[in-house]
Amino acid sequence: MTNPSDWNERINPVILGLQPSGIRRFFDLVAEMKGVISLGVGEPDFVTPWHIREACMFSLEKGYTMYTSNHGLLELRQEIAKNLAASYGVSYNPGHEILITVGVSEGLDLAFRTILCPGDEVLIPEPSYVSYAPVTAMAGAKPVFLKTSAENGFRVTPDLVEKAITPKTKAIIICNPNNPTGATIEREHLLEIAEVVRAHDLIFVSDEIYGRLTYVGEHTCVPSLPGMRDRTILLNGFSKSYAMTGWRVGYAAGNQDFISAMTKIHQYTMLCAPITAQVAALEALKNGENGLKKMVEQYNRRRHLVIQALQEMGLPCCEPRGAFYAFPDIRSTGLSSEDFAQQLLKEEKVAVVPGNAFGEQGEGFVRCSYSASINDLTEAFKRMGRFVSRRVNKGKVLPFSPGKNEIKEKSICQTIS
């Protein structure tokens, strides 16, 4: 029998070296407790709208149970192309410029494996979604972090990008709006980043899964920017906008050469996204607009409630403008983000995600998801307020200054002194 040490020698060192997500660690802790209100959930609290579920059942009744083309259902790709053209004025040929993937997760993996060679570097903002760096590493490339800071609204500045670029830099990935910070990037700021990207001939991988959940200003689709369409891989999906996380369906759009190359990997590893999920996605795009708007309205109201609650408990927080996360600064409590999350869970039975799960720059912050009911949010923040007041001013208080990102003074919660 092989003993475990032998196994470790046989496992690919890249995989061996990957850290399990900090979120999973915390999940085990939370799962043991009862009566917890969780603000730690990265998915909508809405169930997929009934018309979508119903359409999918109908498709099963009709016998839609077979493979689709590797690219995905043509009708779905056509609807996506129509939708992107109407929403952002960017046009893709549904025939060979759109690939239906198993969520953005697969799209990201395909995109990176398609473009990255060993030794290449990928610029990844920090804090950001947990899988960007591991997927980069699995593609044999090196993650290079763009350390954004709360003082600057967690904004990726052109300067930050410029400084991180080396001859090996191949691509930049940006999630806008951002998970975990809820920050969005204004069009003019994206234009500045795009300019740097073009100047250094990089590929822009744009994760816009939260794009439709933008509450302040309008979402800018990166490929719609001048000169960006053919150097951008647009990743998007249905999970967040249509509350379809478990369906696992998304898409990648880009230049035909990119998409054809990605399709090769997809073809050999996935074959196609599940047809049932694709049918559901088609129904979502065709008839989901009203439901989507209602969900966005509700998230926005909850967002206001969260901003006020954090203000009242004196935790500074950059105004969350998209997705469904707030990322308050908890340094005034004198706790690390993991200690904060663990003690809050133990003392008040509220679960939040420690910010360091999203990279070093997330240390000192926690992610609070507002994809929860108004009453749960109210109760959770009441408990969190009690917890914070027992500890406030035990640590270093770092009041924010508005910075250069034109975030209005009033949109930044100041620490109550």
């Binding site: 959930v41 998915e43 109201r301 409630l305 108004i374």
Partner: protein, 167 residues
């Protein structure tokens, strides 16, 4: 729409689905002051835009015997008054929960509730069918309520099944 009308509409949308949210919560959700919420709701109540508050109860689960019925009513409309005078007469009976004027084969649909089938039947025959201008009635007893006021009456539907922590 003026900003004020907009806020009114938003408040109505919020409390339409949950009348128990308090003014502090509503104020935070709409980024207005608590006083403004209280004042607006008061105005809406005075104007009868908010006509009342009630609770959606699944009486079946209480074990209480209750009988409800939907009655189609045909009426001879009156000159100048149309159906309104008779409809209002019907509305005033406390047993009557809902009255609507309908297009189609009959004129009013009347939703009534009583303790027993006999009570409902006697109400229909003695009070409703015998009213002046009422031509005929057709009574349909309710066997089961699945959904009421947008709320499902079943237990197992769509609870939160999400993992407690996800990326």
């Amino acid at each position: 729409m003026s900003a004020e009308k907009c806020k009114e509409k938003e408040i109505l949308e919020i409390i339409e689905n949950d009348a128990r949210l308090n003014s502090k919560q509503i104020a935070a959700m709409l980024q207005i002051s608590e006083e403004e919420v209280v004042r607006t709701i008061k105005e809406l109540e005075e104007k009868k835009i908010i006509a009342g508050y009630f609770t959606v109860i699944n009486w079946d689960k209480v074990g209480e015997e209750k009988v409800s019925a939907i009655i189609e009513v045909k009426i001879t409309p009156q000159r100048d008054l149309g159906f309104d005078a008779v409809a209002m007469r019907i509305c005033r009976f406390p047993e009557v929960k809902t009255v609507r004027l309908m297009s189609g084969a009959y004129d009013l649909v009347v939703y009534i509730e009583g303790q027993t089938m006999r009570e409902v039947a006697s109400f229909v025959t003695l009070k409703l069918a015998s009213l002046e201008h009422v031509l005929s009635t057709a009574t349909h007893f309710v066997l089961k309520t699945y959904k009421l006021q947008g709320t499902l009456m079943e237990d197992d539907v769509e609870e939160d099944r999400r993992l407690l922590i996800t990326p």
